[in-house]
Symmetry: C2
Subunit: 332 residues, 2 copies
C-alpha cells in the first residue's frame, strides 16, 4: 500500500510539499499540483485516515446512536444522515442501542475511542452526565438533552394542531389521540398538546387519549394494544396516531372490526414514511422534514469542528400530507 512518501518519491517532491497539496496549505504551483495528482493516481494512493486522524487528533467520522433502524422512521433518518454526512466528507459510524442504556454508554465510549468529529444522539436514555467534555460536539435529535451542545427537532406542537384541524375539517367529532410515552419526556410528547389545544378551540369536539407503551418500539407490534384501545373507545370517528406504523396497524384492527376508513373513521398518522403510501387506503400524515433535520445535524458538527458558531436549538416546520385516510366526499 502506497504511502505519502512513495507519492513524494514518484513525483520527485518532498513529503512536505505533497502534504501541502493534500491539505491545501501554503504555496503550491498548478504544475506541482498536477504532478502530485498524477503520482497519486499512478500509485493508486489512498491516504491512511488512521494516521491522519491521529495527527489531527480528530477523525472524519460522525457517530450516530439510534434506538432501532427497523422502524421506517429511523431507517429514513439514517439514510438521510448518511447522505448528508458524505456530502460533507464525513463517514458514518452507526450504533443501534435497542433503547438499552448499557449499550448507549458503550457506544458513547466507542465514539470517544474513535475520536469522532461529532455524535448525534437519537435516543434519550443515556445518562446525561456522561456527555460533558467528550472532546466533540453532541447533537440531540428530537430529544431533550440539556447536556447536548445542540438540539434539532421538528415543530411537534404544530404537527398536533395540523392533525386536529384536518380531522375536524372532515367532520369528525369524537376524536382519539394515540401516542406512545417513554420514561423520558421527549419533544414528540407535545404533539398531543398541540392536538388537544387545537381541539379545545372548537365547539362540540370530544377528545380521548390513549397511551401506547413504547418500550417495545423495536418490535413494531402494537396490534394487541390497539385492540384494547378500540374496546375502550368503540365510537371514535377520528384518530390521530403518533406514527404511521401505529396508524397502519390501526387500519388492520379497524378492518377486523368491520369499520371502514375513511368512511367510518378518519386517520391521521405522523412521520410520512413509505408505510403511509403502502396501506389501503394510504395515510394522511404529518410530514417531518427528515432530510433537512439530518442535514442540520451534520452541519452543526461541521461548524463546531471549524469553530464556527451554530444554533443551540433548531426547530423545523412540519406540514400535512393529505391522502386516502381522511378523504371525504367533497374532496373528490
Amino acid at each position: 500500500m502506497a504511502t505519502l512518501k512513495d507519492v513524494a518519491r514518484e513525483a520527485g517532491l518532498s513529503v512536505g510539499t505533497v502534504s501541502r497539496v493534500l491539505n491545501n496549505r501554503g504555496y503550491i504551483s498548478e504544475e506541482t499540483r498536477q504532478n502530485v495528482n498524477r503520482a497519486m493516481k499512478k500509485l493508486n494512493y489512498q491516504p491512511n485516515e488512521m494516521a491522519r486522524s491521529l495527527s489531527k487528533q480528530r477523525s472524519s467520522m460522525i457517530g450516530v446512536i439510534v434506538p432501532t433502524i427497523s422502524h421506517p422512521y429511523f431507517s429514513k433518518l439514517i439514510e438521510s444522515m448518511e447522505r448528508a454526512a458524505h456530502q460533507e466528507e464525513y463517514d458514518l459510524l452507526l450504533f443501534v442501542s435497542q433503547g438499552r442504556v448499557d449499550r448507549e454508554e458503550e457506544y458513547v465510549r466507542a465514539c470517544i475511542s474513535n475520536r469522532v468529529a461529532g455524535l448525534i444522539l437519537c435516543t434519550g436514555s443515556v445518562r446525561t452526565a456522561r456527555l460533558k467534555n467528550l472532546g466533540f460536539p453532541v447533537v440531540a435529535y428530537e430529544r431533550l438533552l440539556n447536556e447536548a451542545d445542540a438540539g434539532v427537532e421538528c415543530d411537534n406542537y404544530e404537527g398536533g394542531i395540523l392533525a386536529a384541524q384536518e380531522l375536524i375539517r372532515c367532520g369528525c367529532r369524537n376524536l382519539l389521540c394515540i401516542s406512545g410515552i417513554g420514561e423520558v419526556s421527549m419533544p414528540a410528547d407535545v404533539r398531543r398538546d398541540g392536538f388537544m389545544d387545537a381541539c379545545a378551540r372548537h365547539e362540540g369536539i370530544r377528545t380521548q387519549f390513549f397511551c401506547c407503551s413504547e418500550e417495545r418500539i423495536t418490535d413494531l407490534r402494537y396490534k394487541s394494544q390497539l385492540d384494547e384501545c378500540m374496546d375502550l373507545y368503540p365510537d371514535v370517528d377520528g384518530v390521530f396516531a403518533s406514527s404511521d406504523v401505529i396508524a397502519a396497524e390501526l387500519l388492520g384492527v379497524l378492518s377486523s372490526r368491520g369499520k371502514r376508513v375513511p368512511e367510518d373513521v378518519k386517520i391521521v398518522g405522523y412521520d410520512d414514511v413509505f408505510v403511509s403510501e403502502l396501506t389501503t387506503p394510504d395515510l394522511t400524515t404529518i410530514h417531518q422534514p427528515v432530510q433537512e433535520m439530518a442535514r442540520t445535524c451534520i452541519d452543526i458538527i461541521r461548524r463546531a469542528s471549524e469553530n464556527e458558531a451554530f444554533p443551540a436549538r433548531t426547530v423545523l416546520r412540519v406540514n400535512l400530507v393529505r391522502r386516502g385516510s381522511t378523504r371525504t366526499a367533497q374532496d373528490e
Copy 2:
C-alpha cells in the same frame, strides 16, 4: 484526554506492561491487571483507536455498502449486521450507494482509507476488478461476485419452490410470479427458477411471469407497474411476489379492483420483514434468516483477520411463514 502513558504513571507501571494488559499478551499477574484497570477507571481512559489501528495496520471497523436502507429488508439486515459486528467488537461504517456505481467506488476507497477489517458488499454494481488486493476481505451478500473472498446467500431456489407449493396447496391454478430484475444477475433471480420448476411438476398449473423494473428500488413504489401487470393478467388466482413490499403494494392494487385476498387471490411474499405483518390481511412469506446471514458475514471477516479458514460460499436455509394472504377455509 488520558493516554496509555498517563495510565502507566498512575498505576506505577511501564507502558509496556499496561499495553500487555490491554492486549492480553505475555505474563500479567492478577494484581497488576486490577491495578491497571483501577488506574484506567480513575483517569477515565479510553484507548485511542486511531493510534491502535495505525500501529496494527488494521482498524476494528467493518464497512458495509447497501443500495438503500429505506427498504425494510435492508434496514433489518443492517440492524442485524450492527448487532453481530458489535458482538465481535467491531464498529460499523455504513455506506448507502443508492445503486450508483460512482458512489460505490468512492465507498470502497473510503474503506481502504479507513483500513477496515473487512467489507460487506450488499450491492452488485461495483466494478469488480477494483476488489482485488484491497488488503482486507470482501464478502458478497446475496450477490454473485467472483472477485469477493466469500459469498453469503440464502437458498433462493428453495424459496421459490416453497412459494409455489403453498399456492398450489391453496388450490390456485393460475399463477403469477412477479420479480424484479436488475442489470446484474443476482442470486435472487433463481427464486423464479425454483418457482417455475416446482409449478412444472404439477398438472394443470398455468404460470405467468411479470418483471418489475427494480431501477427505482429506493423509491419503494411499484404501484403503477403492478397496475399494468394486473391489466395484463386479470384472472390470476395466486401470486408470488419477490418481496414483501411488492406484495403489500399488490394488496392495494387488488383491493382497488375489488379483488379480495385471500378469497379471490392468494399471495406469497418474500423476506419476512415487518411489513408482512402490517398489512390486512397479513402476508404469507418466505422467511430469510437475515440474522444468521449477518452473523455469518461478520464471522467470515473475523476469521479472515485471524487467519482462520472460512467458507467461500455459505447458503442458508429459508422457510415459509403462513399468514392471512394464503389462508383457506380448511386452515381454520
